[in-house]
């Protein structure tokens, strides 16, 4: 049975429920579905005020290819029965979705591990860049060291 993989980059929001429901449609071997939704926060004040919006820039062509490479790696490492990755680009206001990862498997460990792996890699390897709009102006978000260490834990030693 082929493993359904969906990768989409889009400006519009996504429907988490539909993506989760798609994981079990027509299958009897799905016992666990994990979803991760990444959402635009606005609670952290800095000298520029609160975040009014994020704008996500991406590298078309490479972004899809890079996500596909990591989905393939996830499928090779865990017995997944389905994977969906949706990443938005463009302007996103607080409370809106940014990214969705949904993984399905017969067992919960694989679904959890696959989703965490994909999120860690999306953070550090997918060619997307966030720019914050605050009252005082716009600023590119800086990469976090903790995201690099999160991604590094999946490297085979």
């Amino acid at each position: 049975m082929t493993i359904p993989v969906t990768i989409r980059l889009q400006e519009v929001d996504f429907d988490v429920a539909r993506e989760i429901a798609a994981m079990t449609r027509g299958r009897k071997d799905v016992g666990a579905v994990v979803s991760f939704s990444g959402i635009c926060r606005s609670d952290e004040m800095d000298e520029g005020g609160a975040i009014a919006a994020l704008t996500l820039e991406h590298y078309p062509g490479m972004a899809e290819a890079e996500i596909a490479r990591h989905v393939d790696e996830a499928l090779a490492r865990w017995p997944l029965t389905g994977v969906t990755v949706i990443h938005r680009f463009g302007r996103i206001v607080p409370g809106e979705n940014i990214v969705l990862v949904v993984t399905a498997s017969s067992h919960r460990e694989a679904a959890f591990q696959g989703a965490e792996f994909l999120m860690d890699y999306l953070k550090t390897r997918a060619p997307f860049w966030k720019r914050e709009e605050r009252d005082a102006g716009n600023r590119w978000v800086e990469a976090h060291d903790r995201d690099d260490s999160a991604a590094a834990r999946w490297t085979k030693s």
Partner: protein, 83 residues
């Protein structure tokens, strides 16, 4: 070869892409960064901390010591902040 810029590298350079023809002495990604930096103030500003710049050749992440021979598309950008 085509060179692409993203995020603040793009803003500093002032363009999203261009076609360049570096001399054959420019062998690696790191050489290309140094060569671009000589092209004007905007490039010098974009590449003023070369160690933070990430690169991709033909849409694959590469290290700066990678050879650029045969590359059709080279992209420069800051560390990624998606997800």
């Amino acid at each position: 070869m085509k060179v692409l810029y993203f995020a603040w590298v793009r803003e500093r350079v002032g363009k999203t892409e261009e076609t360049v023809e570096p001399p054959s002495t420019v062998a690696t990604v790191s050489d290309l960064i140094a060569w671009l930096s000589q092209r004007g103030e905007e490039y010098a500003h974009a590449f003023d901390r070369p160690s933070v710049i990430r690169a991709a050749i033909d849409r694959m992440h590469v290290k700066q010591d990678t050879a650029i021979a045969g590359a059709r598309e080279i992209a420069f950008f800051p560390p990624m902040t998606g997800g």
